[in-house]
Amino acid sequence: MSWKIIDHEADSGLEAHGDTLDELFTESASAFLFLCSGKSISSLLEEVQGTGHISLEAADLEELVVSWLNEILFLAETRSFFFIPSVVRVRTSPYSLYAEGRTAPCGTGPLPVKAATYSDLAVQSVPAPYLRVIVDM
């Protein structure tokens, strides 16, 4: 597992690592889904009911990260499923992302997450892909 949940005075956050940007974004989704659901990816995969995909564009890498995580949140709130990525392809010129994955129902309770934010945001692709995102809970 190349992610962890980090502490924040008012809310929560996540850090992720990867060998590639594709892996980094996949790991960040795992961390974010944990914050949303309280479940690991392996638990969510036991509840899979369908498939889906996500396509995004952004002005820069930071916006791409925030948009990616907020898209997962948007799908949970509007389609009532958690999107669990299996393939993620990140491009940097221009900045875009395409992901395919499986979907698991997210129930009717309120999600504890309001948004992935730009606060204290850190994203790097070199020397080793890493990101930190603070999440408004």
């Binding site: 924040h8 916006e63 925030v66 709130e77 809970m137």
Partner: protein, 464 residues
Amino acid sequence: MRNFLTRIDPTRILLEKGAVPGMNVPGLIFADTYIESLLEGENALIQVANVACLPGIAGYSFAMPDIHQGYGFPIGGVAAFDADEGIISPGGVGYDISCGVRLLGSEIPVSEFLPHSEKILASLFSTVPCGIGPGGGAGIRKKDLEKILEEGAARIVRSGRGTAEDLERIEEKGCLEGALTSAVSERAVERGVRQLGTLGSGNHFIEIQAVEEIFGEEEALRMGIKKGCITVMIHCGSRGLGHQVCDDYIKVMKRAMERYRISVPDRQLCCAPIPSPEGRNYLGAMKAAANFAMANRQKITDDVRNIFIRFFPGRILHTVYDVSHNLAHIEIHMVSGKARKLCVHRKGATRAFNGLPVLIPGSMGTSSYVLRGTEGAEKETFASACHGAGRLLSRKEASNRTDGRELVKELSSKGIAVMADSLRTLGEEMPGAYKDVSAVVEVVHSAGLAMKTARLRPLAVMKG
């Protein structure tokens, strides 16, 4: 940072210009020695200083005694900007636009309520949805949502779910004029249609309280708050619709700042000139989201009343007041003897105009307070006061100290019934995770910003 702090009096600390480079005005923090001792890590103070760097700021970058670290702006932060030359920032309002509090009063004695408390709490829990989807928010049509974005709580009242008296006791009569539905994205609308009338999670709640202490007899009488009777407090906001509006406009403002040659010390302070297209659109979308939040609380109020009427036929739960604590308003205030039109950002801070109620929810298991705004607040803080207790422990620290089940047992032993949608997040809201709300209230009272009127003790609470 501490080197730039100067205590002015028992409730005020000045944060001098120069604490960070580029401050246009000083900071003014409302804090006694107890609150001051809690300002560890200095992150919140840096945020107060950063806000002071923003273009067109008037007066001070204020921090209320419930201050803690936020996104860009601190929670408990107040900043006003010239309406013609200053900026508007989504970070100065927050993701939960118009998160706020509705207080309902009654003449139902606590002694009559207590035998029914568990049944009433269970009815609330099964009736008021916390989330979305089947069993969650009922779902409304897009065109109905658009009407709500334009008309706010008034739309809900007109559909038979409230009274004209409710609207008289809601901030801005339940509708911010000038809402721009065209400035609200499809994504925000899509999130909103399934969430009207839902509570949300985290520190959102419905709490039934006993009026324990009255500090201002006349004011309490005017508000309809009676010692020994119950009140109901509803704390929630604009849900996913508001969160999406904030997220949308953070992107818009980030891209716009270069064009307006604005640089900010923290990207969550991204902003645009108020008269700019971006500024006007955000203001319009924010007002629409606020209207949704007020409509949300009106719908939940109706649900609460429908439950109480079954147990107490003929007894009314009247609206004491409904006020937001995450919002920006265009207001006229005196600055250095001149009347100026300002955009006052209150993020985790409540409007405290002279004579109007200021509602301060406590943390779980602790007292809540009703205060009233003062002339002092109008003169000093652009009519602003605190909004709650302010977090002390991170969510992780709090949940390390207790879990949801233990917390329910602990509160039950104190005579407070709890039902929660998620025990997982309940532990994060333990009382010790927040500052002492009584101490926070004492600071605004002693500073003359808002005067204590009543203290409310929790009896039963429903959390998302």
